[in-house]
């Protein structure tokens, strides 16, 4: 964002951004994309059942639709920009699902295998993606088996924090510190791999 520093970015309201885009300010369009994109990727990750590629593609499409609307007619309620973007994203995901369903006229095992199933890759896949390698390195750097166990139970088995703390005799603070430490190392390794500035949800590419 040339010419706009970090603090300025957050001073600009959605309403002001919408107005600037309406009058052809391309810099404002860049700010809008930067502001909306991370949240839209989350919306679409869930709406597509965890399909990273599709979520990324649809987030671009959503931004195009939003930008076109802002350039053409603007929004009746510019303060509702985030809600408008979220609903646009969900509508695009639904439309994509319908289109995909209509196209499918016969069993396609390749397509079925390609459907994202969070947490499970095909049996033959033995190489980790960049993300997998970084997480493995993060695990390696955790100081104790207990820390690894906390991560596994919290993120993988989705157990409640209270239960984990009770079982491992951890205080609330100690639990938070373990997660904080793990996340910190993960972010550092992501950054070292040059991934933090990229879309995190695109980091699933196999090395």
């Amino acid at each position: 964002m040339d010419g706009v520093n970090h603090s300025q970015k957050h001073e600009i309201t959605d309403s002001a951004l919408c107005e600037r885009i309406r009058f052809g300010d391309t810099q404002a369009e860049g700010l809008l994309i930067e502001r909306l994109q991370p949240g839209l990727r989350l919306v679409l990750y869930r709406a597509t059942g965890g399909n990273r590629d599709l979520a990324s593609e649809l987030s671009q499409e959503t931004l195009l639709v939003v930008l076109k609307r802002l350039r053409d007619t603007g929004l009746n309620d510019p303060d509702g920009l985030a809600a408008f973007a979220a609903q646009t994203a969900r509508n695009l995901a639904i439309a994509h699902r319908r289109k995909d369903g209509r196209r499918r006229t016969d069993i396609d095992h390749e397509a079925l295998d390609a459907i994202p199933t969070p947490g499970r890759d095909s049996h033959s896949q033995v190489e980790l993606s960049t993300l997998g390698v970084i997480v493995a390195q993060t695990l390696d750097q955790l100081p104790t088996e207990r820390d690894r166990s906390v991560l596994k139970r919290f993120y993988l088995q989705e157990e409640d924090k209270e239960k984990i703390c009770r079982d491992l005799q951890l205080s609330d603070l100690a639990f938070n510190q373990i997660l904080f430490r793990a996340r910190g190392r993960f972010r550092t390794l992501l950054s070292a791999a040059g991934l933090e500035k990229r879309d995190l949800l695109d980091a699933g590419e196999t090395q």
């Binding site: 309201t13 959605d14 930067e34 909306l36 991370p38 949240g39 839209l40 990727r41 989350l42 919306v43 869930r46 059942g49 303060d79 509702g80 985030a82 809600a83 979220a86 969900r90 995901a93 639904i94 699902r97 369903g101 499918r104 006229t105 016969d106 069993i107 095992h109 079925l112 295998d113 199933t117 969070p118 947490g119 499970r120 890759d121 033959s124 896949q125 980790l128 993300l131 997998g132 997480v135 493995a136 390195q137 695990l139 390696d140 991560l151 596994k152 993120y155 993988l156 088995q157 989705e158 924090k161 997660l179 793990a182 996340r183 993960f186 972010r187 995190l200 949800l201 980091a203 699933g204």
Partner: protein, 253 residues
Amino acid sequence: MSSNPLMNQPTPELVAAYLANRLSEAEAQSFELYCIEHPTFARDVEAELALKDGLREIVARDLGGMDRSSLAFSFTSASRYFTDRRRRLLVVTAASFAICASALVLFQKRRTETPLIAVESLSQWPASLQKASRAHVTLLRTRGSSPELEAVEAGDKVLEIKLLPDLPISVEAQGPSMKYAIRITAADSPKSEILRLSGLRPAADGFLTIYVRTEILRGRAWIIRLESTSPPSHQQYEQEFPIAIDSAPSAQH
């Protein structure tokens, strides 16, 4: 900034609940709205999601690439496994012993417990199954030829089955009262129903998801029946998905 009821930064517990898909649709949408309004926070959530996916990937990779040992074993050895190949043989040998011992214990244990377990979400997973690995099968409506899908699994697994009702309306348009029931019966004996779950609602992605122990399905062909159960005024919907779980671990999909 907006009419979002979620005005304060979500707690770590709320983030965890969102990532585990434990929030209601309204809560999830409110959380997502907050994320769109707060990109820095959204990036933090993305990082957590990436960490979670990376962990799953390591376990999935180990289960596919090694001898599918226990989840706990795979997890703790994951990173060392690929950084020190010389240990690999020792690890696999030890794992084989562990698998044999576990199989013996499980065999004894299963004789006294019911083999039929199906739940709707990961949070309902019985503790006894939390060490088991998960396999995933997604079944979609197909037209024309047989939609049979063969899922190959071995060991004590939990199968995640995602079904997509092929309705011409979205989840939102179906409304909260639209519910489904899922029944599983043997393909060669439609009266032998082994499972029934009712009152199910699709997630935002349109999929209905259930978890079933692979053990009860292995070695036989089954029909998964998906039907709408309410409200009565809606168009009735019914669909069948054949599925077979092969017990041969080396077979391909």
